[in-house]
C-alpha cells in the first residue's frame, strides 16, 4: 500500500495497485458536523478527476465528495447508507466512501502529500 494522498477539497486517496480508496478527512468531518445522509455512486460509474462522485448532508448543509482520480467506481461502502455517522466516527478508515479503478495512475502526482495537506489546513484555522 502506498502513502495516503489528499486533495485541497479535503478528500483522501489511498492507492493499492490500481485501486484507490477514497474518503473525507478528519478536518472535513469536523467542519461538516454529524452526517445525516450519504448518497454513494453506483459501481461501474465512470468518473474524472475532480468530478462530484458522492453527496453528503449534515444537519445544516449539503456537500460533495469529489473523485481525486479518473476511472471507474469499483466498490462502494454500503454501510454508510444506514449509518452515515460512521464517517464522523472513523473518517480515515471504516468511513471510506468508494473505490476507483484508476484509468491514469499518473494523476496521483497531482494530489497533496500528508505534510502538504496538514500545512493547508493549518492555514485555514
Amino acid at each position: 500500500m502506498s502513502e495516503r494522498l489528499f486533495t485541497d477539497d479535503h478528500e483522501w486517496a489511498l492507492a493499492d495497485g490500481d485501486t484507490v480508496t477514497v474518503g473525507i478527512t478528519n478536518y472535513a468531518q469536523e467542519q461538516l458536523g454529524e452526517l445525516v445522509y450519504v448518497e454513494l455512486p453506483s459501481v461501474g460509474t465512470t468518473v474524472h478527476q475532480g468530478d462530484e462522485a458522492a453527496v453528503i448532508e449534515s444537519v445544516k448543509a449539503a456537500g460533495d465528495v469529489k473523485s481525486p482520480v479518473s476511472g471507474t467506481i469499483s466498490a462502494v461502502n454500503d454501510t454508510l447508507n444506514d449509518a452515515p455517522e460512521k464517517v464522523n466516527e472513523d473518517p480515515m478508515a471504516t468511513g471510506w466512501f468508494y473505490k476507483v479503478a484508476m484509468s491514469d495512475p499518473q494523476e496521483l502526482d497531482n494530489l497533496l502529500s500528508e505534510d502538504d495537506y496538514n500545512n493547508l489546513i493549518a492555514t485555514l484555522e
Binding site: 458536523g33 454529524e34 445525516v36 445522509y37 448532508e57 444537519v59 445544516k60 449539503a62 447508507n81
Partner: protein
C-alpha cells in the same frame, strides 16, 4: 463588522463554532454538535443565547390602540403580565415580522426577529412614533432556557419562576440578578426567555449552565427544534409575500379583530386577510415528509408525479428527534390534504414526499 452579544467570550470559551447571523456573531453549535444539542433540549434542557433579537419598548396612554392599528391582535384585552404571539402585517396582507408582545403594565414589550428589528423600528416610528414612545432597548441580553427539565431547574433557583405559567411574563430575581422572565420559547418545549441587563447576562448564563440538566445549545439546534415543532421562520416560511391565512397562523388573530368583532379590521391588509378568513386561500402551509433519508431543503420545488409544479418547500432539514428528514412548505389547496403524495426536486431528481400535519413533534408547553 458583525456585532457581539454579551455572551461572545463565553461562546468562545465553550468552544462554539461561530457564524454571522442577523448582523451578530452567534454560536451555530458547541462541541456537542447540533444533533446532541437538539436531543438535549427534548430530553433535558438547553440554553440559547438569543440576545441578537430586537427588544422594543412601546409606551404611552394610547399604546394598545396604536399597536393594534399595525398588528391584528388584542392588546386592550391582554392582561398585565401576559404575552401573545402576533405579527405586523403589510398593506398587501403579508407578514412584516412575527413577534411576541407582552403587557408590562406601564409599557408593551415586543421581541422581534434580529434580521427585522430595524425594519420594525422604522415602521413603528413612521406609523405611530408621533403619538407614543418607541424605543429599541439596548444594553439588554436575552437567554432562552428550553426543555422538560426547565421546571426542575427553575424550582431550584426561584420559587416565583416555578409557579409561572405558559405565556406569563414576570419581573423576578434569580440569585441577585434581576430579569424579565417570559414562559415561552421557539422549540415546542416548556421553557423561559430571560431578558436582563448586558452585565447580568453572562452571570445568569453561567448560573444556568452550572445546573446539571442544562447544556449550551446553538442556532443550528434552535432551527431543527422549531422545524420539528412546526414553527415558522420569518424569511423562510412567512414574509411579506405570504398572508397569515396561507401560513396557517391566523389562529393568532382574535375574534375581536375578525369580521364580526367589535374592533374588526383596522390593521394593514385587513381587507385581504378578512376575506381570506371567510373565502379561503389558493395555497396553504403544510408539513412535508420526505421518503428515505435525503433532506429536502428550502426552495425545493414540489410537483405532482407528472412534473407539474404545485408548490415549494420553505424550510427543511434533518429532524434529530425523529431520526429522519422533515420539511414544510406551501402547496396549492387542491393538494394540501394529509396523505397527498408529491415529489420534491432535490439536485435535479425527484424525491417522493407526503403532505402531513404539523407539528412533527407535539408541543409540551406548561399549561394551567
Amino acid at each position: 463588522m458583525a456585532e457581539r452579544t454579551p455572551l461572545y467570550a463565553l461562546h468562545l470559551e465553550l468552544g462554539a463554532k461561530m457564524v454571522e447571523f442577523g448582523g451578530y456573531e452567534m454560536p451555530l453549535s458547541y462541541p456537542d454538535g447540533i444533533i446532541r444539542e437538539h436531543t438535549q433540549v427534548r430530553s433535558s434542557a438547553g440554553l440559547f443565547d438569543v440576545s441578537h433579537m430586537g427588544q422594543i419598548v412601546v409606551k404611552g396612554p394610547d399604546a394598545a390602540t396604536l399597536l393594534e392599528s399595525l398588528i391584528p391582535t388584542d392588546l386592550a384585552g391582554l392582561p398585565n403580565g401576559r404575552q401573545r404571539y402576533a405579527y405586523f402585517t403589510t398593506e398587501q396582507g403579508g407578514i412584516l415580522d412575527d413577534l411576541m408582545i407582552s403587557n408590562l403594565g406601564d409599557h408593551f414589550r415586543l421581541v422581534v426577529n434580529a434580521a427585522n428589528k430595524h425594519t420594525v423600528m422604522s415602521h413603528l416610528r413612521s406609523e405611530i412614533g408621533d403619538r407614543c414612545r418607541v424605543d429599541l432597548l439596548t444594553g439588554h441580553g436575552l437567554l432562552a432556557l428550553q426543555g422538560p427539565a426547565t421546571q426542575q431547574v427553575v424550582n431550584r433557583l426561584s420559587s416565583m419562576l416555578g409557579e409561572q405559567r405558559f405565556m406569563e411574563v414576570t419581573r423576578t430575581t434569580i440569585g441577585e440578578l434581576h430579569c424579565l422572565a417570559h414562559r415561552s420559547g421557539y422549540t415546542g418545549e416548556d421553557g423561559f426567555e430571560f431578558s436582563l441587563a448586558d452585565a447580568d447576562t453572562e452571570p445568569l448564563a453561567r448560573l444556568l449552565l452550572e445546573q446539571e440538566q442544562v447544556r449550551p445549545a446553538g442556532l443550528g439546534a434552535r432551527d431543527s427544534l422549531r422545524l420539528e415543532a412546526g414553527l415558522c421562520l420569518h424569511g423562510n416560511d412567512i414574509g411579506p409575500e405570504i398572508t397569515p391565512v396561507e401560513a396557517n397562523i391566523a389562529w393568532a388573530i382574535p375574534a375581536c379583530r375578525r369580521a364580526t368583532g367589535d374592533r374588526s379590521g383596522g390593521f394593514p391588509g385587513a381587507d385581504r386577510i378578512l376575506s381570506e378568513l371567510s373565502d379561503g386561500t389558493g395555497r396553504m402551509r403544510v408539513g412535508i415528509q420526505p421518503e428515505g433519508r435525503a433532506p429536502v431543503r428550502a426552495h425545493a420545488s414540489l410537483q405532482l408525479p407528472d412534473g407539474e409544479s404545485v408548490g415549494e418547500v420553505t424550510s427543511g432539514g434533518y429532524g434529530p428527534s425523529l431520526a429522519r428528514p422533515v420539511a414544510m412548505g406551501y402547496v396549492e389547496n387542491a393538494y394540501s390534504s394529509e396523505g397527498t403524495g408529491l415529489q420534491a426536486i432535490v439536485r435535479g431528481k425527484p424525491v417522493p414526499v407526503t403532505v402531513c400535519k404539523l407539528p412533527f413533534v407535539q408541543h409540551r408547553y406548561l399549561k394551567s
